[in-house]
């Protein structure tokens, strides 16, 4: 079943990706058929199952809170599409 167009439009906005009216139909159908296929998961009984949240069972540990890195302002700005002084420059946000 094709995904509802209003849902596709909402997802597109959340994703910050433009979807033209021409593309909408195709995307609705494609996403719909993938979701239909994924619905297979519904038949699995997962009532007493804890979700697996990562790829490893290694326990996380705390490290000492010390500064051992940093001072890379120049490196960090090196790939900036637009910079002003030592800052990233973006279109005006506040009027």
């Amino acid at each position: 079943m094709a995904m509802k167009e209003e849902i596709v439009r909402k997802i597109a906005i959340l994703s910050r990706i433009n979807v033209s009216d021409d593309e909408l139909d195709n995307i609705s159908r494609e996403l719909g058929s993938i979701i239909d296929w994924i619905e297979l998961l519904k038949e699995v009984d997962t009532q007493s199952v804890e979700p697996m949240t990562g790829g490893t069972d290694i326990k996380s540990f705390k490290r000492e809170d010390i500064v051992n890195d940093g001072g890379y302002q120049e490196k960090i700005l090196k790939n900036a599409p637009s910079k002003n002084d030592n800052l990233f420059e973006v279109p005006k946000v506040v009027e």
């Binding site: 433009n18 790829g55 279109p91």
Partner: protein, 489 residues
């Protein structure tokens, strides 16, 4: 002698370099010639001609002085998903077309420290999302193998397609790929080479362009099992910069690979059978069992009951993580920027122009699965199914040491055949995705040719952190199948 150089394994090249039979400079020059001759394979996004030749001179000096590292002077292809300092790193995406990292990934640092030479950055599916290499912004890499009596170009598999092609076509000695749902193993099978995805956490992910963080792992793509084991020992190890990398000892995989396998038990999961499976894939699987039996290994039928849910669970989890990871490409700090009248417009213009079709499709899927009202039904559900899939493996590993399956349901297919049908493309990974979800080590070993002329691989899946046993049995498959011997390697 010279033209044979490009076909040698790491161990043979190391020996030749030390014995001064040839120099690293000669070796790199040979590969660069081959790369030029086989340009139509499109296996590299960036060829590092100048720096590779310069590094080769340095390596030759070190070898002369007896100061060589374990990979000294060995030319390696690096998937263009690893950040390399001062070398453009694109992830095969328009959005990173101009990105030159100011830092080196942990895995490539280890390779450099070992003396390896980077001959080029290899082609891949955009952001490693694909099973054919066709989603690359730079065009697909092409499989060097051909169907009998046909010149049709075939896909190399993906996403590490360029890395597989580079090794298969003798354009470098070995390469490094990444595997999220099969991206090392499937192209290795399609191109007739060895591809190893280690245990999740074995190699640091720091500096690898992220796709799905709970699944991504780096791994070697090589001509032989021995090379695979050797290379994995070098790129493995704890890294404080990746909190999911394991702080445990890295064994000498190469020596484990050649130890005795007698007495091991190998499981055959009945759920991997299907009537739709290519009969020649089935026959090769049977042969694999016989080869193992002949080496004193017991074959046991096992059950992994949740197998059929692995792919649908993967296509929720991986896109969900991807949609989150790829939110960083906003045109503000690095990569492509397409201007707009507002900040929001700049974001969406940049992302619309920068991402290709498959990447957008997965961002949409992931955003949907994580959005309010759908999270429990899709994302949480998929995580629970993932746990059940892992439990299946844990149960099986109480009875067996390894699991043997085909790597792929069939051979490489012609370019263009599946790209317009996402689900049929996703089904390529049906045998590789379960081990990815469970975080288990798994290898693809080339074991034979289909009657259509193309290579087929068998997959061995092991317990977490037990790559040694995986390599051990992989060695038996390699020797018994004589795949490499038939290629006169």
């Amino acid at each position: 002698m010279m033209s044979e150089l490009t076909r040698l394994t790491i161990s043979k090249i190391s020996k030749g370099l030390k014995e001064k039979k040839f120099s690293s400079f000669e070796l790199v020059s040979e590969y660069l010639n081959e790369i030029d001759k086989q340009k139509e394979l499109n296996s590299f996004i960036t060829i590092l001609e100048k720096s590779a030749l310069e590094s080769a001179k340095v390596s030759d000096k070190k070898i002369g002085n007896g100061q060589s590292g374990p990979l000294e002077g060995i030319p390696i292809g690096v998937k263009d998903l690893f950040c390399t300092e001062g070398i453009r790193t694109t992830a095969a995406s328009n959005i990173l077309n101009n990105f030159i990292p100011t830092y080196e990934s942990s895995v490539t640092s280890k390779l450099k420290d070992a003396g390896a030479i980077f001959i080029g950055k290899t082609n891949l599916d955009e952001f490693a999302m694909g099973s054919s290499n066709e989603t690359s912004f730079f065009g697909s890499a092409v499989n060097p193998w051909k169907l009998n009596n046909s010149d049709k170009p075939l896909v190399p598999g993906g996403s590490s397609g360029g890395s597989a092609v580079a090794v298969s076509a003798n354009l470098c000695t070995a390469s490094i790929g990444t595997d999220t749902g099969g991206s090392i193993r499937q192209p290795a099978a399609f191109c007739g080479i060895v591809g190893m995805k280690p245990t999740y956490g074995r190699c640091s992910r720091w500096g690898i362009v992220a796709f799905a963080s709970s699944l991504d792992q780096a791994g070697p793509m090589t001509r032989s099992v021995e090379d695979s084991a050797f290379l994995l020992s070098i790129i493995s190890g704890y890294d404080p910069k990746d909190s999911t990398s394991a702080n445990i000892e890295v064994p000498d995989f190469k020596s484990l690979a050649s130890s005795t396998a007698k007495g091991l038990r190998v499981g055959i999961p009945k759920e991997y059978f299907s009537d739709e499976l290519d009969s020649e894939v089935l026959n090769l699987w049977e042969k694999g069992k016989e080869w193992l039996k002949d080496s004193g290994i017991e074959i046991v039928e096992i059950s992994l009951p949740h197998t059929k849910y692995a792919l649908p669970a993967y296509y929720i989890i991986a896109p969900a993580e991807a949609s989150s990871n790829l939110s960083r490409y906003d045109g503000a700090r690095f990569g492509l920027r397409v201007d707009g009248n507002s900040l929001d417009e700049m974001y969406s213009n940049t992302r619309s122009e920068g991402f290709g079709k498959e990447v957008k499709r997965r961002i949409f899927l992931g955003t949907y699965a994580l959005s309010a009202g759908y999270y429990d039904a899709y994302y949480l559900k998929a995580q629970k199914v993932r746990q059940l899939i892992y439990n299946d493996f844990l149960d099986s590993f109480k009875n067996v040491d390894l699991i043997l399956t085909p790597t792929t349901p069939g051979t490489a297919f012609p370019l263009g055949d599946k790209i317009s049908d996402p689900i049929s493309m996703y089904l390529n990974d049906i045998f590789t995705v379960p081990a990815s979800l469970a975080g288990l080590p798994a290898i693809s070993v080339p074991c034979g040719l289909h009657s259509n002329g193309l290579p087929l691989g068998l997959q061995l899946i092991g317990r977490r952190w037990d790559e040694g046993t995986v390599f051990n049995c992989a060695n038996i498959l390699e020797n018994s199948s004589s795949f490499n011997k038939n290629l006169e390697l």
